[in-house]
Symmetry: C2
Subunit: 378 residues, 2 copies
Amino acid sequence: MTSTTGDQPRGTGRGKRVTIADIARRAGVTSAAVSLAVNGRPGVSDATRERILGIARELQWEPSHAARALAGAPVKTVGMVLARPAEVLGAEAFFGAFVAGLQEVLSAADYSLQMKIVDSTEAEIDTYRRWFGQRRVDGVVLVDLQTDDPRIPALEQLAQPALVVGGPGHHGSLPSVYVDDAEATRLIVEHLASLGHSRIARVAGTAEFLHTMQRNRTFTQLGEELGLDFVQQDAGYGASGAARATAEVLRMPEPPTAIVFDSDEMALAGAYVLRERQVPIPGGVAVVSYEDSPLTRGHHPPITAIRRSAVEYGRAAAQRMLEVIDTAAGRPAAPGAIGTPAQAESRVIEPQLAVRASTDPALLGVAHTDLAVGLDAS
Amino acid sequence: MTSTTGDQPRGTGRGKRVTIADIARRAGVTSAAVSLAVNGRPGVSDATRERILGIARELQWEPSHAARALAGAPVKTVGMVLARPAEVLGAEAFFGAFVAGLQEVLSAADYSLQMKIVDSTEAEIDTYRRWFGQRRVDGVVLVDLQTDDPRIPALEQLAQPALVVGGPGHHGSLPSVYVDDAEATRLIVEHLASLGHSRIARVAGTAEFLHTMQRNRTFTQLGEELGLDFVQQDAGYGASGAARATAEVLRMPEPPTAIVFDSDEMALAGAYVLRERQVPIPGGVAVVSYEDSPLTRGHHPPITAIRRSAVEYGRAAAQRMLEVIDTAAGRPAAPGAIGTPAQAESRVIEPQLAVRASTDPALLGVAHTDLAVGLDAS
DNA sequence: CTGAAAGCGCTTACAG
DNA sequence: CTGAAAGCGCTTACAG
């Protein structure tokens, strides 16, 4: 008996890979016929197709991704470049959740997401150029949109499938997906109004972000519309600015009964100041955050916040990206898509408001569900 | 004059792509020479190499990734499969930070990370098989390691580069990277002992996780070693279990003066129970968490926690993955690597302890830095 | 509906 | 040190 196990033909893995030529030989057809059969294209009879597929399965054939790509097939990859340090990305709850949502939809469509961290906008644009040049991606997702973003004209010029996350109004001729901040503002204001608040302050983040301007505009507009007394206080960015702005607001001759913060971090800083000044929440001042997170949920009392679900946002972006790629390839939009949107059309994510004890006194004492269960049982 | 702009040759992009054949023609050499030149391999004189590289740059040549892969070059891609729903991943701070760290190192080495979300362990193993079968990845990173993990033997059988994140002792013959939980436990216990605590409780998570067992073992061992009074309370998983266990511990005839929790969520639930029972932190009971997060940092008082830096963890995993791939390809380990570790060797991440007011009364009133600054200035 | 061929853009031996 | 050729595994026209 000669050794029949262990002696692998050569190199890594077990033996030579199975190709369509092997299948063709076994099936008594040409490799072109195999290609048509496995790609579900017309040109072979149903009988031979079945036979070919059977053999392919039997031989455990896997298509060579490289060969397909070289022959001109889509590479089934979406790219995303991040021009922020890993430490910053890692500290943000949004990033992980957004990526998870993207992945879910892309994975299901057998697409993969390719990411790259770079250290400048120039490097980012260069990466787009190279990715498309190398045919490594079928399309790219652009994030962290800014005012007058140089990446927009660069991508427009490349004339390749690209989706902008953010907006509105600053994505040029590119398709985009963004959260409706006007609607978010409306949800907050109407919620507070329904609880009887008529003096409301908004502690706003830096105007560098597009959404800040959008919120400012809607906030002012709703104040006039509803005839309420609205105060806007610019806080710059971060917790320190928010703390300062909150103190400022409390010094007013007739302080507001509710304060709306632009982020979870800002809301927490504001709540800290209120606690210091012995102002009860929500009895003295109600608190709302535009951004939900473990911080707002874990606070005592839990803070009412806009829940835009970063996971859902990622899913929507992936869905739209796939449509853009399909349309560019001249293929009909994927099934499940409602109609076939024009390439440059935007899609809007509708925000929701998670009402918690920081605005609604009836919810005081109710911690987040999991905790509540534990305490009941103890 | 005929139109020389606007009339793009055909298809998407501008014109036919530049290939090494074009460069060869211009340089008066064969395409093989170009290949050697651009890959920095011997076989061409320095003069011709320079000339070739100059022309390549001038023509803005980009290598075809697909062609390279088809011809046998590495695909420069690392794969990671996640068998958890996007919602769960998105809710975890660890995921985003780990991915950011991975990305940083892989991007710098011109590798990309390919992820896929699946819904079962079988699908995960199948994905590995297919990825390697299609030559879509050069190696894979395995996460969420469990006891008797079926993915380990499956990957061992595939005999392809794979790195296990987690351990020790459960990664079979595969190389791994993990955080040193024994050291983490030692840091916590020694910190508490130095503050004079001699009755310490540990509220432990589910024993399904390898690290739980490791912590249990070290905790018990240190108790004997230092002659302290140690109590272990199993809490199962999550906040409710932790709340129950904390209540249990407080009912003891001689309650501990410090409680160590297995996660940030558990620590928060425990702190909530202490607050309910009017037990001051850290005056009545000191609190420590094995997991740092915005929850522990944002709590009042901020909670002392093990900081293992998920970003750093990701970086270490990527670094090790690249070494494993290089070694498998017969290449020397990347520069910067200390020595050339054997394939199956593990690497250990050293944890740190972030000391905060939940254990050290001297730090009471000190919120996290950013906040503190804001308050000083207001 | 099926066959034979060319081509995608590289890399890798193998001669000179 | 350089040239000519084969081959990686597919897809896509183009004839029969």
